[in-house]
Symmetry: C2
Subunit: 362 residues, 2 copies
DNA sequence: GTGAAAGCGCTAACAT
DNA sequence: ATGTTAGCGCTTTCAC
């Protein structure tokens, strides 16, 4: 055996100071011998900082925190009302168990010390609405922590929470065509991680890696097909972010197509609000000249003028259920079912009406 | 010296496996001897989970995360538009440096393993809008981590970011009285941690421990005093949360006081929105019969019908500046100035007008 | 260059 | 009951 001095020769005798721990009048926190030494030698004015959280986590193997990964830049989540309500649901679950909620930024890959998802101190991860091919998802599963995926991607072996996007969008499209609309146009959310605004070809639509966008596209397509409208006649404008501004830009481009669409199907309420503004900016009326539909049913949708016909999905509940699922996993339970698909229900309101002139197809 | 065996006799030889670390074809991640042993012995199917985040943090003494503490239940923060914008600002700063953002829930004090603020793994804390006597603040400073306080309390020795609440509220009150209003009423945010809804006596107003509430109250009082209105004639209704619902309840109570107020000064836009609804529910008009003012200047304020006269404060900027301050502190810099007070500027819009009948004081 | 080991501060397990 | 110690997995420092 190599001769090396026992550990004690360098390490101070023990972490617990000699005072009896349970004796009345002494604190029961008897940790940190070395720090106390420093306190006594260097300066007596320092107090006890409380137990070190990282050491505690290392030892216990738990941090009592769950992480949330968002598709986009973290700050965009706070600009997206659906994401905010989702996070509210997550935080509701967290506070009931006292877990911290860690919002993990997307780090530029060259960042030192690994990416934020790799070094975040969490017991589990909620992956919210990322593209199928997003490397951040791979990083998340590589950590071998419990993972709950929300909305997308629909990975088979991961716990999953989401909405019946396809059903919701086919239903609302069916409603629109049942009113008599034949010239439809779609305002879509991002199709791929590398965004490209503007009209999206059928090929690009096929190549979509955002699962919810693809699902809603399929729903619209099926709804249109039910009325005999070939999908190739439906222009699809891809927005680069979920904002009213982008909805406006999309609607402006789509209203320029010939023949002009009589119905605009937007994949989010925010995009729909922007579309309504663009329609009005042309001197047209919603819904008299152009019908507009949304998706999400934000609280603002019902108060909008005109009240927005949209598809309801329970953002807050999704967040709560996703977090509960994760917390169950962390507690060692094996929650069933592994997937929760919430229904997407159409809310028929004032932004849809029959098309202005009911002209039979040529 | 006590005879004890050297540490090596129990600890596996080294943490780095024998393979040459830099030889091409081998991963450069050569950590975790013990785990690798387990991998080889127990099951070969496990992979390398990535470096352990807690161990890394313990060793480095940094977690690359900053924590945010909120007055209230965490989930309420997501229901408060001002708080959401604040968090957006914080997250903007975080993502620029790749720091995680930890939202710390308020744990019921009896929670096992200490409170969440004590055990959260963060390098610094942003304390957002808590009462002067909130124990969570004491816990935060006891951790001896860098702390930035936002809005309240105005603790002298801590870095601080906030708004000129007193100036903003006195200015908007002066505007209202300059229109001729003499019967004012205030819809206040919480006065103390133990909430009590309803009309607040002068004694209770004096006892306020929420610094921003107290500051706005002082501002209103000074604005009223400038017009010779004694503060004792101004009823103050304390809302128990920042919601339209509470604004409605407050306005209903205040409109029942005799003589009926002609102007309602609300301490947040949300409360003001609710107040407007209550006024209309009585068959009265804003601003013809009753003027209403807010505070915050949410994006919705300008779009409201009528557009809300309110006080602007830069929620998002406050969040960004607070986080930048904290990140500076963490980087070892000593940011100057230690306090940032943003101006609160009045936005005169359509919800204020002269009182209905200009009757000289009896 | 390559390799070894000390130890961050805590807690669970074991020793008395 | 009270006291002791090993070691979580990493990184930094030191030794070769």
């Amino acid at each position: 055996m190599r001769s090396r001095r026992p550990r004690e020769s360098r390490r101070p005798a023990r972490c617990r100071p000699s005072g009896s721990p349970t004796r009345p009048g002494r604190t029961t926190c008897w940790f940190r011998h070395r720090l106390r030494e420093r306190i006594l030698t260097e300066s007596a004015r320092q107090g006890f900082h409380g137990p070190d959280a990282a050491a505690r986590s290392l030892r216990r193997g738990r941090s009592a925190a769950i992480g949330v990964l968002y598709t986009d830049r973290l700050s965009y989540a706070f600009a997206d009302p659906g994401a905010v309500r989702f996070l509210q649901g997550v935080s509701t679950a967290c506070e009931s168990t006292g877990n911290e909620l860690v919002l993990i930024p997307r780090t530029s890959d060259a960042s030192a010390g690994g990416t934020a998802v790799g070094r975040s101190i969490v017991d589990g991860l909620v992956v919210y609405s990322v593209a199928d091919d997003d490397p951040v998802l791979a990083e998340a599963v590589e950590r071998r922590l419990p993972v709950v995926v929300v909305d997308q991607p629909h990975a088979a072996d991961l716990h999953w929470v989401g909405t019946d996007d396809e059903g919701g969008s086919s239903a609302i499209c069916e409603h629109v065509v049942s009113l008599g609309h034949r010239r439809l146009a779609v305002i879509a959310t991002e199709l791929t991680r590398r965004r490209r605004g503007g009209l999206a070809s059928l090929a690009r639509q096929k190549a979509a890696t955002f699962a919810t966008t693809a699902a809603r596209l399929r729903g619209y397509r099926d709804g249109a097909a039910a009325a005999g409208i070939p999908w190739s006649t439906v222009p699809v404008y891809e927005a680069v972010e979920n904002s009213e501004e982008q909805g406006r830009a999309a609607a402006e481009a789509l209203l320029d197509t010939d023949p002009r669409p009589t119905a605009l199907l937007a994949m989010t309420d925010q995009l729909a609000f922007g579309a309504c503004q663009a329609v009005r900016n042309r001197g047209l009326d919603v819904p008299r000249d152009v019908s507009v539909t949304g998706f999400d049913d934000l609280p603002a949708a019902a108060r909008y003028e005109p009240p927005l016909t949209t598809v309801h999905q329970p953002h807050g509940t999704k967040g709560r259920v996703a977090a509960d699922l994760l917390l169950d996993l962390l507690a060692g339970r094996t929650p069933e079912p592994r997937t929760h698909t919430f229904p997407a229900t159409t809310r028929l309101r004032g932004s849809t009406a029959p098309p202005p002139t009911r002209r039979r197809r040529s």
